[in-house]
């Protein structure tokens, strides 16, 4: 009697908090090139180990090694580097614009550029992404005009979304980019629905869903996996594990599961983990998964292991919950530098060409910003009309809204 212990709640904690010394020594990083590349029609039961490993192509010396290497030409790799550099320059300028009061809010990609930029190159015209707020590389690498993105960020008179949405919650249907909600996880299951519709319609197009490590805890994540599994939807389900959900480390959403990719195993989904800071590895895995979807072999779950170097958003200060030096200690390095070194090692790029490209990219971003600012910024210059606020709630405005619009004097 009375020998049972008092119960206690287990609340996971990150290894290190501010003031401590970052230590990722317990994060197992497999050697580049060491993970097999199975055929796309593999039985998912035969590749369960891929959910616990990390597919990597670029080694410490910057060489592309192993069975996942070779999916891109030198020219394509130089283009990929430029996309990542453009996204980084875009982020830097928009982050500054927010500090200058030209917009209310911004979210940058620092450290995660490879994920969306490389994935975009594995898609075909007509495919549809259901992104989160940190995949602007899908737009940049897809050729969407930066000035349009900035018009949206500035909520100016040329804003394609009429000032209705938070900055960076883009929508670009023609570029395969679904309207971003800002709610967490909701888009993941919508991607599955879009893919099911393509299958129902005997189409050839596929969908890609995106979610962060923290949002995998939402019901919609599980809803997406069960629908994708049941109907073998032609969709690629992407989890971007950047280690931090605002202040919450990834262990809170992961719980007792070994990895986020392993969540897919119970649904019978091929589930792969990939080095998210390795442009070549991201592209190779994305191509593998998109080919599966296109050949009607069904969905793939991919976990991109990366690190959010910057703050969650301009409303966040990460020094309150993680050591400042943590990003330096991150063992998978910087995606831009890694691809740059790879290209230099191959003799198809140089420090000088890189510096030149940096300057060109920044010039392009600044030119786009000038043009966007000519249409106004959040608090000055051109702005969307108040009338726009009442438009578009329905295809046809119902009488009660018309009355309210009249009351508002517009």
């Amino acid at each position: 009697m009375a020998t049972d212990p008092h119960l206690s709640l287990h609340v996971p904690e990150p290894e290190v908090r501010p003031g401590g010394t970052p230590d990722f020594s317990k994060v197992p990083i497999p050697r580049a090139g060491s993970v097999d590349r199975p055929p796309v029609d593999v039985d998912p039961r035969d590749i369960r180990d891929l959910a616990y490993s990390i597919i990597r192509v670029l080694n410490r010396e910057g060489e592309a090694v192993g069975p996942w290497a070779g999916s891109l030409t030198d020219e394509e790799l130089r283009e990929g580097l430029r996309h990542m550099m453009t996204l980084r320059a875009f982020d830097a300028r928009m982050q500054m614009a927010q500090r200058q009061g030209k917009t209310s809010f911004y979210m940058q990609h620092m450290g995660e550029e490879a994920v969306s930029c490389a994935f975009r190159k594995a898609l075909s015209p007509g495919d549809m992404n259901f992104p989160t707020y940190r995949q602007a590389g899908l737009l940049i690498a897809g050729g969407y005009p930066m000035v349009e993105m900035m018009n949206q960020i500035f909520s100016n008179s040329a804003d394609p979304l009429k000032g209705r949405q938070l900055p960076i919650m883009y929508s670009a249907r023609e570029h395969g980019f679904f309207s971003i909600s800002g709610n967490l996880g909701t888009q993941f299951v919508q991607a599955v629905g879009w893919a099911m519709a393509s299958a129902i319609s005997n189409d050839t197009r596929i969908a890609a869903g995106w979610i962060g490590d923290g949002s995998t805890a939402e019901s919609d994540f599980h809803a997406a996996l069960v629908f994708a599994s049941t109907y073998r939807a032609p969709v690629v389900l992407n989890i971007v594990n950047n280690q931090w959900a605002i202040s919450t480390f990834q262990g809170i959403a992961r719980g007792g599961s070994g990895t986020f990719a392993a969540r897919g195993l119970g649904f019978g989904l091929p589930s792969l983990r990939v080095d998210g800071n390795d442009y070549l590895a991201v592209h190779a895995v994305a191509r593998w998964a998109t080919e599966r979807a296109r050949r009607n072999l069904g969905p793939t779950l991919i976990e991109y292991v990366t690190y959010r170097v910057g703050a969650h958003s301009t409303s966040d200060d990460p020094s309150a919950y993680r050591p400042k030096e943590e990003s330096e200690a991150w063992p998978l390095g910087d995606p831009v530098i890694r691809l740059k070194n790879h290209l230099i090692g191959k003799g198809v790029w140089s420090e000088e060409r890189h510096r030149q490209a940096e300057a060109e990219v920044m010039d392009e971003v600044i030119a786009a910003q000038k043009e966007a600012e000519s249409h106004g910024t959040l608090h000055s210059g051109g702005k969307p009309s108040v009338r726009d606020m009442f438009e578009g709630v329905y295809a046809q405005m119902p009488p009660h809204l018309r009355r309210q619009r009249q009351q508002a004097g517009v």
Partner: protein, 337 residues
């Protein structure tokens, strides 16, 4: 003209819509092989195949979330949530997503979906099979909300809802599925086969959203009702001998304000009835609109007869349900000023 129950009429609407438009798909829990727990989708899978009518996992947010994705693609999903009481896991998808996609994408993406749900009480369903959550949806900009009260209306309104370019919440009063119900729970049910509104055309017809119907013409007092309460109000008028004009709103949003104003301007008195709880219920909106638009015609305060502000009880169902006696009392009070 054929006679149909409300179930058969709803099934006929989906059948007609699926037959005319290959992009209409129907899915939900138990909806495919079995044909729905209320049988509203019976036979559709056999007729249109498993890719156009199918069973889903038990995940309402999954049902609505995938419907939104399908709509973004270009299909017209008409999904079933097994009971309106089960819709809450999907509420985020409905409120934050379906309702706003047209607006936030400036029309690049739209959401022409219908979410069908059995609503309301009267079947001893307790808290989880009796709720009337219409106000949770009328309060959300971007949604349309329909509550039919007869087989004929159900079919025409559901076809209009499926053909509508925006998301429609389609609440089916489950107590009306097999016959009109006037609140006299101790009397035998009249089947739709013996009611004129059980006459339903076989083919395609649409009843436009946003048009009310006068169910009983009268000059003394206007009763604003929808769903099951239409028949309760008719019974109360009959039993009190008060010459009430009963308006069946049919669509709560968009609302037929013209019909309301025309009637109340004529009668000078108004009683609002619904099954849902009182506070912040749709009756508050109706009372406010009547006050704004008919103030100088009113000869008595607008009264609301609704479900009590408690969770829907099981054993005390008929104490909770706003039956004909309570409506009659409100009619008499309205006549006295």
């Amino acid at each position: 003209m054929p006679r149909m129950t409300m179930i058969e009429a709803i099934r006929s609407a989906m059948d007609v819509a699926m037959g005319r438009d290959g992009t209409v798909v129907v899915f939900g829990e138990d909806v495919g092989y079995f044909g729905g727990v209320f049988r509203c989708t019976a036979g559709l899978q056999q007729k249109y195949g498993k890719s156009r009518c199918f069973d889903t996992p038990i995940n309402e947010s999954g049902i609505v979330g995938t419907a939104i994705g399908m709509a973004a693609y270009g299909l017209r999903p008409c999904v079933e949530v097994q009971f309106a009481d089960y819709v809450y896991p999907a509420y985020d998808q409905i409120v934050s997503e379906a309702a706003r996609i047209r607006y936030r994408s400036n029309g690049q993406f739209t959401c022409p979906i219908v979410i069908r749900m059995p609503t309301g009480g009267g079947i001893f369903g307790g808290q989880t099979h009796s709720q009337s959550p219409e106000a949770l949806f009328t309060h959300v900009s971007g949604l349309k909300v329909v509550v039919p009260s007869s087989p004929r209306d159900a079919k025409g309104l559901l076809i209009a809802a499926i053909e509508d370019p925006d998301p429609v919440i389609f609440l089916e009063p489950k107590r009306l599925y097999n016959g009109p119900f006037d609140g006299h729970h101790d009397r035998p049910v009249t089947p739709w086969s013996k009611h004129p509104l059980g006459e339903v055309e076989d083919g395609h017809y649409a009843i436009p959203l946003g048009k009310a119907a006068v169910r009983r013409a009268g000059g003394d007092v206007t009763v604003l009702a929808y769903g099951t309460m239409v028949y309760v109000a008719e019974a109360a008028a009959q039993e009190t001998g008060i010459d009430a004009e009963v308006i069946d709103l049919r669509t709560l949003l968009p609302l037929d304000l013209d019909a309301i104003v025309a009637s109340v301007s004529k009668t000078g008195r108004c009683v609002v009835v619904h099954e849902a709880t009182l506070t912040s219920g749709f009756g508050a909106e109706l009372a406010a609109l009547v006050q704004e638009h008919c103030f100088f015609n009113l000869e008595a305060p607008v009264r609301r007869i609704t479900g009590w502000d408690t969770p829907y009880p099981h054993a005390q169902e008929w104490d909770y349900f706003p039956g004909p006696a309570r409506v009659a009392e409100a009619l008499r009070a309205a006549m006295e000023g």
